[in-house]
Amino acid sequence: MPINKLPRGVAIVGAGMSKFGAFPDKNGRDLFVEAYKEMTRSVDKGLDPSAIECFYLGNFSSDLFERQGHTAPLLADAVGLTPIPAARVENACASGATALRQGVIAIASGLYDVVLVGGAEKMTNLPTADVTDTLATAADVPFEIAAGFTFPGFYAAIATAYMARYGMKPEHLMNVAIKNHDNGALNPKAQFGVTIQKWMEGRVAAALKKGKPAPAWSDIWDFLHDDSANPMVAWPLRLFDCSPITDGASAVLLVAEERVREFTDHPIRILGSAQASDAALHDRADLTSLPAAKLAASRAYEMAGVTPKDIRIAEVHDCFTIAEVVASEDIDFFAPGEGFKAAEDGMTAREGAKPINTSGGLKSKGHPVGASGVAQAVEVWKQMRVEAGERQVPGDVPLAMTHNVGATGSTCVVHIYERRD
């Protein structure tokens, strides 16, 4: 099946996000307003909100997390955008990028010129066990969850299969966590914006303050191997292999190519937008790769007319450390079985040949599920416009990619971006 190009060019002309974290004093609406305001301030030539014609919201489960349904018009009202059409898009943890893709399609179709895309999730109202139950609804509930599986469990089973095939050890995954915390420490919006080294030192200081004996970790590797500091969640995945429970929101403004100059002279053009679906994990021929991710990536490359070596940076869906390793292979940055070695060799660090998750990723920045896919686009926007501050990658970023996954790969959405000054 030949891949159609977008029939009309689409570009991002503004992007913003709330601080990610746990905020007892804020609900999803408050966080979205924060993201929207930052987005409006980022539009170089200013934004008259009456120009916005339509709003798509990525949100997984405000119903269960906040006991609030029908979220899109409420959020539109909160930022003064009613009566424009507002629709919520749900695709589990890929809700954000799916909403982004709907915005792209709406403009490419010719129906609208200016579309707001947001993502929002307020997760910390619920106790952890209820958050786990809510996230579990993204799986095949009668046939996967009934067995006692959890999301860390699914990705752990992927890790087990990957280790058996490629000889990876659980320690290799720690490289991903260390790298993403190093990046997140330079991101003021990150939930856990601290290196693992600082985290460990904080634990020692806290123990001493309480008059307890200081834990005798020799280094961060020792710390990460300690069951009390880094407990097992689902073997081989430990706490530091898992993204956290997060409140947060994100927003981008999409504009049709012919109207871009009304808003900015430094737009980020969307060159490729692709999405694929798959069955639950028990219907896969292979667990060491996500077929929907491979398919979405290859279609996005074809639509954009570029190759993996052209892409300077990628934000990928690292809900678990193994997910980043698999993603780095599914988007064809590295050959199958090479992703964990690339992480070990520093190739995916900011200074590496193929920087991945300069934002800190879901691991360190946080994972408010419906907001994550749009927040990936926010990071790419900042890096491509050289506005990422201390975590800015060296050199030009003419092309970038985002990769957002729902559940264990039942949805994957990939976008390719081009800087077009």
Binding site: D130, P142, A146, G148, T150, A234, W235, A279, H282, L287
Partner: protein, 131 residues
Amino acid sequence: MEIARHWRLKQQRYGLVGEVCPHCDVKIFPPRDVCPECGGEAKTLYTFSGKGEVYSYTTIYEAPAGYDETAPYTVALVKLEEGPLVTAQLTDVDEESVQIGMPVEMVTRKLRQDGDERGMLVYGYKFRKST
């Protein structure tokens, strides 16, 4: 609490009943009435032998509500000898001895308890080591 949600799965949960495609003979579990291989209608019931091997696995330490009593426990994707993968808990097994390729067979066990001590007990398939 939501008894029908579990009751309507009794054939699958107690008997490992799936389907076989009359067009291409592919065995299907969980059943879905449309063959995932050829796309034809596949409503012919098929009872699996319950024999297979561990395809991949993990041991859950952070268990969800209703399962925490037995944590840590080992769950697996079991490759049935007829082809499909089934997601299930392993039982009567020492987690240290579990490995990919280990032969297993289906048994019926308590899966979970809904709610408090008066909540419904949910039974279904688990797998144990076979020889």
